[in-house]
Amino acid sequence: MNEEERVKFSWRQRFDLWLAGRRPEVSSASRLSHRRLYIVPTRAGLLFALVLLLILVGAANYGSSMAFVLVFLLLGVGINAIWLTHANLSGLIIEPGPTRPVFVGEEAAFRFSLKNPQLRTRSALKWSWYDAGTPKLCCQLRGLSEVNISLTKIAGQRGWFSPPPICLASTWPLGLFYVWTVFRLTPKVLIYPQPAKPGVALPFKAQEGGGKTLFADSSQVLGNDDFVGLRPYRIGDSPGRLDWRALARGGKLQAREFQGNSADRLILDWWQLGEAGVEARLSRLCRWVLEAEVGSCDYGLRLPGLEIALGFGAQHRHQVLRALALFKVSYQSTVIRAQSSGASR
């Protein structure tokens, strides 16, 4: 980072960057201790201090012993409220949960669970993305219980989406002090490319005519297939292939089998796309993958420097989409995105 770039950061941004370095990443269950909890008086807390000062001055002025008693009692309440507020978060355990890939434009969910390993109840815990302002969502955590929390963020770019910092806070019991911690979850969410608009037919290759490409309408593809029979459900079968009616009648879950000569060899090929630009091409390929899954035909993928053999099912679909998502995504760009999201608050 040279000098010119440095001055572009405002003090606030610099502070945030410095803070980002201090935010621990949560990769496994970790306990909230005083090292990670911060506490400051809230606006109401400052007002409380002002009220105390006024009472003290009044007590001194009128020589009122009872007012002195009151002000000292309230001072004690204020001091003890610091400990009680801090203890409301202290000792909680944060454990990151599993993530699921989503497409660009969808909401990526980041999960973690909050565990209370002690007997006492934690009240009014609040959380939100750190950049979303004061946390609003609220829950109570009884002793020895846990709560699963999921925070979502719109996925804007394919690749690995590492979650922005999360803020866990509380002002319980009196609202005079604000205790909070900021952490990042390590598990990232894989963002698939945004599927292009449907309309372009799947690029089928005829089985017999080696090298001869047959472009056909997708409805035609299904029409050419012949229904062969039913077989028991196997994990990975496409929902479109299942015999829902039989299931509704109370029968077993079964999949319909088709035999078609056109569906078996669908190669989604980077070099045979009409679109210009990397992202547009990836979007088109992504749409085709989805359609191929629905149409329940085997498909493969050919990208520059990468080839995935024919296959079918959830596992295969993820493998293909993952390749699309991570196509030419460098480590560098991920880092830049993380920094810019940290500094844009």
Binding site: L54, G58, N61, M66, V69, G76, S123
Partner: protein, 647 residues
Amino acid sequence: MEMLTPLARRWLMTALSAVLLPHLLLLPGWLAVFTGLVLGLGWGRAFELIPKPPRFYKFILFLVALLGFFVTFGFPAGRTSGSALLVLMAALKPFEIEQRKNARHLLLLCYFLVAAYFFSEQAIAAALWLFFAVFLITSALTALEEEDKPFFSRQILIPALILLSASVPVALVLFLLFPRLPGPLWSFPEERRVAVTGLPEELEMGSISRLVRSSKVALRAEFDGPLPAPEKLYWRGPVFSLFDGRVWRRAQGLATGSSSNLTPLAPLQNYTVTLEAHHQLWLLALDPPFSAPPDSSFSPAREVLRARPLHQVYRYRMALAENFKWFEKSLAEESLQMVTATAAMRNPRSFELARSWADSGLVEEALVDRLLALFRQAPFRYTLEPPLTSASGPVDGFLFQSRAGFCEHYAGAAAFLLRAAGLPARVVAGYLGGEIHPLGGYLVVRQYSAHAWVEVYFKDQGWVRIDPTAAVAPERVEFGIAALFPENDSFFSLREGARVDWLLKLGQYRDLAEFYWNYWVLGYGPKLQNVLLGRLGLLKLNRWISVLIGLPFLALIAGFVMLKIVGLEKVSLEVKLYRGYYRRLARRGFARKLSETPTAYAQRLGRELPAEAENAAAVADLYLRLRYGKEGGTGTQIKRLRWLCGR
């Protein structure tokens, strides 16, 4: 914007109502009723009987409240009107607020309103109210943080209880050691107060007899030596030297000091007075006062006057002498001033009578004798309720029509007659007598002992106290007011009740409690603090420094205690549970030995206490698994251990 939940609104109203209730008793009648009604609106919203008010209604309500307030008080300049305005606004607020933030601010104002009450009132009962009100406000603040809970939820009540009880030691230490400054920092312009029982600022006919209906304590006194005789217990208060024919007034003017030459003819005896707040300048002392407390001084009429009205209980030392001579270097103008034209015009017959005495050559003692003879011979009665008269002046009406009156009638008439006859005289108001507290040994003077008498200046004797009431009702002086009206239970109901023995005892204990309360709590100021610090040997330390060092130290201790309470200590849960288990068994006589492992302990328990055998084995097994097992304990296992240990 976080909105108020119905739960939070109910708590807010509970706390606010508890805080405002005692304030309502201090407000003038209509304002109290209005405030009560407005609070009712707030309750209506808390129970969702009233919808959110349109802005127009809010405005009208606010305007009515403000107008009414200004009509009653004018511009709020002092303590009474200031706190009345705060009370009014606080009562209006919950009706219209929607946000939690505002409710929180209102509750913080409630803390201040509790204090504002103590700027004027400080009875023992009010101290209980202090804790109750603070508890409710703190609970309401917690209720604001909670989402949805039953009204009396542990989650709301327990934190407030913890906070409050953990604060009591801090409050106690700070109360005793926090540096107290003598004297006020500023003063508001004084306001006329309504309805305070106490000696009047102006003496009208009937102003003392009103007091006699009250059994409130006026002052308490402890004597270093023996108690003076009952007929010497004249507690001297305000002195009235100006008479306009109707009303006796005090000679206004600064306490410039007395030109008196007062010499004790017997050794001085010290005594201590604890005077209840009466919101007036004068202090009460046995007649005549020989010395003035440090922050007071003598007026020309030798009243003991403070620089500022007394709003708090006040304790001071005084001296008395059995015999004394009291001459005046130069008589003050007010005492010399005889009878003004208006006073004479209003009371023409009395004036004529006094002139006729003077014309017949009566002077000094002879004149006083003639006057007392008049009271003794004519059919004068001593009564609390003299009939109304048609005369233009009270003295004429009393002397020639009703011939019935209370001490202020006798004193006022006597002073007027003596002045008209050429003798310097003035009326003194105060208390006569008092009761010895059988347990505390101190003297209690109540409002019903209020009295008025006359001081006359003889050239060769100086000021002499004349009590014309004694001429009519000598038992008043010797046995006190109760002896005079034994049958009239309508106004001595309190004393009537005192015939029941336990009620009498209860009253005595109550008074004793109040006495110590006044001494240790309300009277705790710089003086008493110095005494305490001296006993603790801390006086040499600079107090400010000791507080600066002490406060963080206290905070540390408080923090340590809280750590213990809320359990930030590193002992894991299963250890705590197991510890609780064997401690419980230890109480039943099966203590775990230091050397015993959990398994050995369980085996021994199985032998010695067969009923516990199965449970003990299960506890030991689960505990060991949780503590030393490879996989950490799950929540269910911990819960199970808790259940086993609790059996």
